[in-house]
């Protein structure tokens, strides 16, 4: 079975949790820019949490289904409709044969749509994620276009049981929604952090530059002078790394980033806040709050524990 893309929106891609263990080949983890949002949406409808779904950015995405499915979405401020029914964030909705769904951003940001059975494109290097930069994975290695027909996978028994529990069109249960701190992203020190650069990073509100993408957010603000002009030896970088190129304008690396870089690593956005960074679009404002490494790790452990509890709760109810 397939789902028809009537209107592809802008930069809509097939994404899952990305490629693991391939950095030594220069292959970026990639996948959903906010993996937690995709995982929660998948869990809600009975999919495995890293099943491939769609990452929506802007423009109006319209899909038509040809069989019965259930779906859920998460992410920024979007309006999602199945026919005339509004689907609130992190709720499940039934989709009947020939139904149309519409996803419309209310504000610039990103949303992740999970469909029961998942988008069944071929796995490449262990993942169905689209790598837009290297043009592979996902649907033909590219963003969706009007008229594409995406193959859907077979629903699990769990999906079917979840569907049976939805009395009306939309479920009366939902997944936990994790909210960020508005414009503030929490960071920890990077190995090239120094206090004078750090003060400049923490003291100002930056604006996301136009040339930002899935690789990284370039930030406009008061220039931060690097501590030394010495060229650094290229080494590993990772999503969340804040690099400081010679221009003095910091760059926050996102999930689609390269695997190694030579610019100073002044800080890292903590993993639990990366999903909020993924919502930032050009002209948005962003600032930083410094926390300690151990706190960042504790927050991540707690976040994973909450997701595990949610998963266990669903299994107890439907399993």
């Amino acid at each position: 079975m397939t789902v028809s893309v009537i209107s592809a929106g802008f930069q809509t891609t097939v994404q899952d949790c990305g490629r693991v263990g391939l950095r030594k080949f220069g292959v970026t983890p990639g996948g959903a820019l906010d993996p937690i949002s995709l995982r929660l949406a998948n869990l809600l409808i009975g999919n495995l949490e890293c099943t491939a779904g769609l990452e929506c950015v802007s423009g109006r995405l319209r899909l038509r289904f040809h069989d019965e499915r259930i779906l859920a979405w998460s992410g920024g401020e979007f309006e999602v409709r199945v026919g005339d029914n509004l689907v609130p964030i992190l709720h499940c909705a039934r989709v009947s044969t020939d139904a149309e769904i519409e996803i419309l951003p209310q504000r610039h940001g990103r949303a992740w749509l999970a469909i029961s059975g998942g988008i069944n494109v071929p796995e490449i290097l262990g993942s169905r994620a689209t790598d837009l930069r290297a043009h592979f994975g996902g649907w033909e290695g590219r963003a969706l276009r009007d008229g594409d027909e995406l193959p859907l996978g077979v629903e699990s028994e769990l999906c079917a049981r979840v569907r049976d529990e939805i009395a009306d069109q939309v479920s009366d249960w939902s997944a936990p929604r994790f909210v960020g701190r508005g414009k503030l992203l929490r960071i920890i020190r990077g190995k090239n952090w120094d206090d004078s650069m750090g003060r400049k990073l923490l003291a100002q509100t930056f604006r996301v530059a136009m040339n930002s993408d899935r690789m990284g957010l370039r930030l406009d603000g008061e220039e931060i002078a690097p501590a030394s002009r010495r060229e650094l030896v290229s080494e590993a970088v990772t999503p969340g790394t804040i690099q400081l190129p010679p221009s003095g304008a910091p760059v926050i690396l996102l999930q689609g980033c390269q695997t190694i870089g030579g610019y100073p690593k002044i800080a890292h956005v903590i993993t639990v806040d990366l999903g909020y960074a993924a919502q930032l679009q050009p002209l948005h404002e962003v600032g930083f709050e410094l926390i300690e490494l151990e706190e960042a790790r504790q927050l991540l452990r707690e976040r994973e524990r909450e997701i595990a509890l949610f998963r266990a709760g669903l299994e107890a109810r439907f399993g």
Binding site: K24, R133, A134, I188, S234, T259, K265, H268, T271, A296
Partner: protein, 224 residues
Amino acid sequence: MKIDPLGDSALIINLADKISDSSGLLARVLSAAETIERAKLPGVIDVTSSYESVAVFFQITQLGPDFEDRIRALIASAGVRVSGKRRRVEIPVCYDEEFALDLKRVANHTSLTPDAIVALHSSAEYTVACIGFMPGFPFLAGLPQPLCVPRLESPRTKVSAGSVAIANAQAGVYPLESPGGWNVLGRTPLQLFRVNESPPTLLQPGDYVHFRRITRAEFDVFKQ
């Protein structure tokens, strides 16, 4: 050995010391990366290396309390990778004007003739220090000193796949079409990144690489 956090879910371990030269250091780095990968410590999801350092990526919820100590112990036990294990890979390159976009620029910078540049570039032995920047892109150490030329002042928005290029003390090959600021000297018909093969890259860290000059006609034959 200096261990730093790389965000909240990875460590980066720098192995540079006062004694090792760059090839000795690279050998220790590759050996350390291999040893950590083989140990399959609980929670470790990825291990990668570059010129001086190894990075270890993990899932925090599965990590043991003595993780950093175990990494230290593994690196201490790793020693130096035996160079006999390394592969030698020959990369055919067509240096014709059509592909050698920056041969003149390099000639101006170095006061060498284009033929002398090609002769130097294709006679050296290189070592793959790491793969990065894009899938399959090899960072090659061993560029002859006279060929050290800075990057382009403004990067090209499009460099063709297969472009063989140099920048500062490094040599490399663009596996895919991409923007780039390195000086392009020629083009190889080989595919350096193949998504459907295992491993997906033609080159691995530690491989020895030679460039061999081919004609335009040979290039076309290879392409087929």
